[in-house]
Amino acid sequence: MKYIDEYRNAPIALGLARKIAHLATRPWVLMEICGGQTHTILRYGIDELLPREVELVHGPGCPVCVTPVETIDKAIAVATVPNVTLVSYGDMLRVPGSTSDLFRAKARGADVRVAYSPMEAVKIARANPDRKIVFLAIGFETTAPPNAMAAWQARREGLTNLSLLVSHVLVPPAIRALLTSEQNRVQGFIAPGHVCTITGYQDYEALVREFAVPIVIGGFEPVDLMEAILMLVKQLEKGEARLENQYVRSVSYEGNRAAQQMVAEVFEVADQKWRGIGIIPRSGLRLRPEYAQFDADKIFHLDVVTAEEPAECISAQVLRGVQKPIDCRAFGSRCTPENPLGAPMVSSEGACAAYYRYRRQGPIAKEA
């Protein structure tokens, strides 16, 4: 497949790995931000091909993983209101809230539907004027434009039966939070290529300047990641800190202006809670006052209690790259994709799920 196979080419990827091994003279800790990149690293064993000096830790860029538990509880609460249809991205259905998840809510009679695009929610709202349609609008800067588009379209058409339950997060403030944390070990970042495709990379340049940390915007295939790692190691070995763009086939400096305008039209920046990290100032998006009529929080008066954390779940450390999934005592035994203790084990982009699915070092492997 064109534009895929070239970036999965084994001789090229292995050649880059050899260059990295040749260059690396000291230990370096690198973090890939995006869950999609974590998934590729585990699926192809990218980390196994790196020299001992280069350690990859996994970042908070899994939208499902960082969506606060209250949002899940709110979604379940609103889905069980009579005459409501909740529309969601598929991965959200298995994420445990405090006492249930959307799959179970659906099994007990709630009208929960999976969509790949929020415009499906608009279609459902159009076709069912007597029902209230709520779209669970979660994610990073990548899902913000289509989610904004749904609200914009609904407003334009005068649809009064569609609303959004919003829990949107932004990458640069999360990187800032990681860099200011006392526990931070990360010396270089692979920034998320798809997020930067939308936003461009001005904000990342600011981070490079402020923290003197190298950041390389990376793609999602094995060759992309190997090349991004090589670019970071080169900088680190030379004592440099620059912003570089590995994912040039998709990312431009300005990003996608039309998408940015759509987001700015519908959303405004706000403080946001991240599951596993806590509240990060100005790290999320909420609907602008002009779009209040589409705010499910306001329409349904969603007021839900915060949940307790199971003592065993170390997702706080995993999402900040402080620990790896296999460091967790519950990994693979009491915490599996069928019975997840934390969100990183639920989502296909979650670090714990990626380790379980592709690697499974830890209790299970030892027993086997």
């Binding site: 099994a107 954390e309 199971p310 779940c313 203790l341 499974r360 086997a368």
Partner: protein, 353 residues
């Protein structure tokens, strides 16, 4: 909670959900949740030696004749899809469950559960297709049943089938017979059926030319068995895809199975759709493919026989049975690293067959 004055505070993580009090769509996925139902509900209640084999068909002996006996239910949505419909699928799926046990399929039953309001024209189309598929495969539908449920209690039309066939005396295929060194053969490209259905789904519909691979495999199986009897077991990787079928074999035989990524054939259109939708072709359903575990010395002869049959033209060896990693399926990636190929957890696509 860590210092509340800091920006970064500790997590508020969910409590685990361990209650198993509700049937979820994932229980019908053919993956881990399905296995859980089987082991916790059905097997303890119904235990007997034929059932305990957990093959796609039971083989029971009556007056010296070895009967292969299977049942299947079809709830596919939509009823009509590129490359088939629920009627032909019911025939092919049932025949394949018999065929992978080495049986010659003979008779089918068909039970129809109809929803009030279904158009008779639709029913007629389905029954015509079912008849056509049965005739083409040389089996007869010898008994049937019809029930009607109130509007809203079903979704148009469901079909339940039974299949009966005869297993030759010298054929003995079962998922517990894979041995280290054996070769894993796959009859052709994976993922066609699942993606063909998905492309038709409301809310997901995308333009595609992908056809379901729905087909009856009994002639291909018979060609393979004519070439050699050193076939250990066969499976048709339907729900849960290739990975679930191979995981079942690895577990039942207590062996490892190592696949080679570059040898697994996936059509470009299917790969493209999977990339776009975030699916892994290893987990996508097939309705006209089989996997066979064969003794190392006969792989060439089996492939030669398969290549002469249109349904096996793309057959190839995709992996080897190993002593190590018992109960696990692993994959050597194109980069030379090894990863696990786990059984499907939850459900990728409900109501695919």
């Amino acid at each position: 909670m860590a210092g509340s004055s800091k920006t970064v505070t500790e997590i508020a993580c969910p409590v685990p959900l361990t209650a198993k009090d509700t049937v979820l769509l994932g229980h019908g996925s053919g993956g881990k949740l399905s296995a859980e139902l089987l082991h916790e509900i059905f097997l303890p209640a119904l235990q007997n030696p034929a059932l305990a084999k957990l093959d796609d068909q039971a083989i029971v002996q009556i007056n010296g004749t070895r009967l292969a006996f299977t049942t299947d239910s079809f709830v596919v949505k939509p009823l009509f899809f590129p490359g088939g419909d629920i009627g032909s699928l019911a025939v092919h799926g049932t025949i394949n469950d018999l065929a992978v046990g080495g049986a010659k399929p003979l008779f089918l039953s068909a039970g129809f559960i109809l929803e009030e309001g279904l158009s008779i024209g639709t029913l007629r189309r389905v029954v015509d297709s079912l008849k056509k598929a049965a005739t083409a495969a040389g089996v007869q539908v010898v008994t049937g049943d019809t029930k009607v449920v109130e509007r809203g209690s079903g979704d148009e039309l469901f079909i339940n089938t039974t299949g009966l066939g005869i297993v030759p005396d010298d054929v003995c295929l079962s998922a517990d017979q894979a041995r280290p060194g054996d070769k894993v053969i796959l009859s052709g490209c994976i993922g066609d059926h699942g993606i063909a259905i998905l492309a038709q789904r409301e809310g997901l519909a995308f333009e595609s030319t992908i056809q379901s691979d729905s087909a009856a495999l009994h002639v291909l199986v018979s060609d393979m068995l004519n070439a050699t009897h050193e076939i250990r077991c066969m499976r048709d990787p339907t729900r849960g895809g290739l990975s679930s079928a191979l995981n079942e074999i690895a577990e039942r035989s207590q062996v490892g199975i190592e696949l080679r990524e570059e040898t697994i054939p996936v059509r470009e259109e299917v790969r493209g759709a999977c990339e776009m939708l975030g699916l892994d072709p290893l987990y996508v359903a097939n309705e006209g493919k089989l996997i066979a575990i064969v003794a190392p010395g006969v792989a060439g002869a089996v492939l030669e026989a398969m290549h002469k049959n249109p349904l096996g033209r793309e057959a190839r060896v995709i992996g080897t049975v190993t002593q190590s990693n018992q109960g696990l399926v692993t994959m050597r990636t194109g980069l030379g690293t090894t990863r696990i190929v786990d059984m499907l957890a939850g459900d990728q696509l409900p109501r695919i067959c």
